[in-house]
Symmetry: C2
Subunit: 308 residues, 2 copies
């Protein structure tokens, strides 16, 4: 469940990409929404069920060609507890279909609080004599602004459960520069965070040479991708920002090692919303998502072949 | 609902403190756990119901003397969707009892994702023609590592709903130094973040002189509290780290302005777990929590009187 299981799935599918499951109702074909509202009214439950059906359709369409999914917690919290219940079902369904699940929570808190997050998202909760899984993802991104106290509790659970985490290092958004690009000593703040991530992950290497603490580095900054890839040889990279945000297959080649290993590139709207470009009002959303995923795979692997 | 409603509640109760609602089962008196397990088995539902009963008991015991509560999302996520459903009920119950609710989520994400978080925690979600509140807190802390893109969507919803947010500036934990204390230009990284928070909040001042973007600054760093209070005159401060983490009433006096306004000090375990020190196995958890809250109030206001 650490990154080696993800790497194996990438090698098996020859596809170093992850499909974001970040659905708002606007991304769901109207007939699916209408059906849910007919059954449940204009409620959060209806929204959750429409999105669950959409998620399952996407997973069915992608699970043999895409190794991983990344549900973004925000879109589930937006629907309150009904959304969180549906997120649990989505994660379970994706895992049943053999996909690696990165629950994109970007939590950042300390000590006992970070432990609670880690147990909830990667581990188990104890009630009396029972040990109960909750969201049970394979991996989560974490925000390291609060330092080691925010990361070590996740690492502890990741070690116990053979799972993994990513630390936000250089994000893909324009205002990443507000803090992350400021000069400090001989580098930038994101360099410091990258070095911290590498240090936090020390002491374990999987079969591909990567530890349990990966880093998030945006596709929109190819020079920094190249620099961080070189500086952090044991750090698996999660690369958002492909497609809609501007990152290209040329840009993301810098994220990989010489075997095409050690990184995974995310696309959310590019796959989820591919149906909006086919003119069929969503009737073909599965085919459209699959075609978009194959196109992304082919574009990236034409430049960066994935070796065994 | 902005900070002026919080400030009014602080003045009314003459108490600049907030009670954390961060319960794990270990913090709940055993008879309450036994009752829930008898009814629901060793399930997440049982844990959620035990903690809900405990939360309501705390709120009942505190609502006339403490102006605000701060449920920490991690402890609810630890119980999966049943925990999140119970968090919604807890927030609603506290608001019904007249308390200001800071939902401690420390979310940090960008653009459309940050908007989804903001709508879910402070705003409303749209399903068909319905506008539905979800968690509906009064205020949330936000992590600014990703820059303005992470904060502006929360600020937009806070403006619409007359609510507020805090940005993490200098946290209370030991490893805050890993990143936040590094030297940059003429100051430290937390200075930069404090300045950004002040800038993001510009353009609105409530009746007490504070804007909608507060800052989290730990009680464990009194010099930095004093420095940030002076540097950020329009920034309301949320001060964790009192009590168990080492912060004292002497330390937190630096957080307030000359009227004793502009800051609120958190205590979680000091209040929630006060019953563990009375030797009554939790039968008096409400009285113990109330006594601890009064002691904290008196200690702080003896040094820092709250003027009207």
């Amino acid at each position: 469940m650490s990154f080696d299981r993800l790497q194996q799935a990438i090698i098996r599918t020859k596809n170093p990409t992850v499909a974001g499951l970040d659905a708002r109702l606007e991304y769901v074909p109207q007939p699916m929404i209408d059906r849910a509202i007919a059954q449940y009214g204009e409620t959060r439950k209806a929204a959750a069920e429409a999105i669950f059906a959409f998620n399952c359709g996407l997973i069915d369409a992608l699970c043999d060609i895409v190794p991983a999914v990344k549900p973004q917690a925000a879109y589930y919290e937006l629907l309150g507890w009904e959304g969180m219940e549906m997120l649990e079902r989505t994660i379970r369904y994706a895992k049943e279909k053999g996909m690696y699940v990165i629950a994109d929570v970007k939590r950042g808190d300390i000590g006992a609080t970070a432990s609670a997050y880690a147990e909830g998202w990667l581990g188990k909760t104890v009630v009396g004599g029972a040990q109960l899984p909750c969201f049970d993802a394979d991996c989560v991104p974490v925000n390291g602004y609060m330092g080691a106290d925010a990361v070590n509790p996740f690492l502890k659970i990741a070690n116990q459960e053979d799972k993994a985490l990513f630390v936000l290092v250089r994000t893909s958004n324009p205002s990443a520069v507000d803090l992350q690009d400021l000069e400090i000593g001989g580098g930038k703040i994101y360099d410091v965070m990258g070095t911290l991530a590498a240090k936090w992950g020390e002491g374990y290497l999987d079969g591909y040479g990567y530890n349990r603490v990966g880093a998030v580095v945006g596709a929109t900054w190819p020079e920094q991708l190249a620099q961080l890839r070189e500086a952090l040889p044991h750090t698996f990279l999660l690369v958002p920002g492909y497609g809609a945000q501007g990152g290209t297959a040329e840009d993301v080649r810098f994220a990989f090692d010489e075997k095409g290993h050690g990184a995974i590139v995310n696309s959310s709207r590019g796959i989820m919303c591919a149906w909006k470009k086919t003119g069929n009002a969503g009737a073909d959303y599965q085919d459209a998502a699959r075609a978009a995923a194959l196109e992304m795979r082919d574009a990236i692997t034409a430049i960066t072949p994935i070796l065994d």
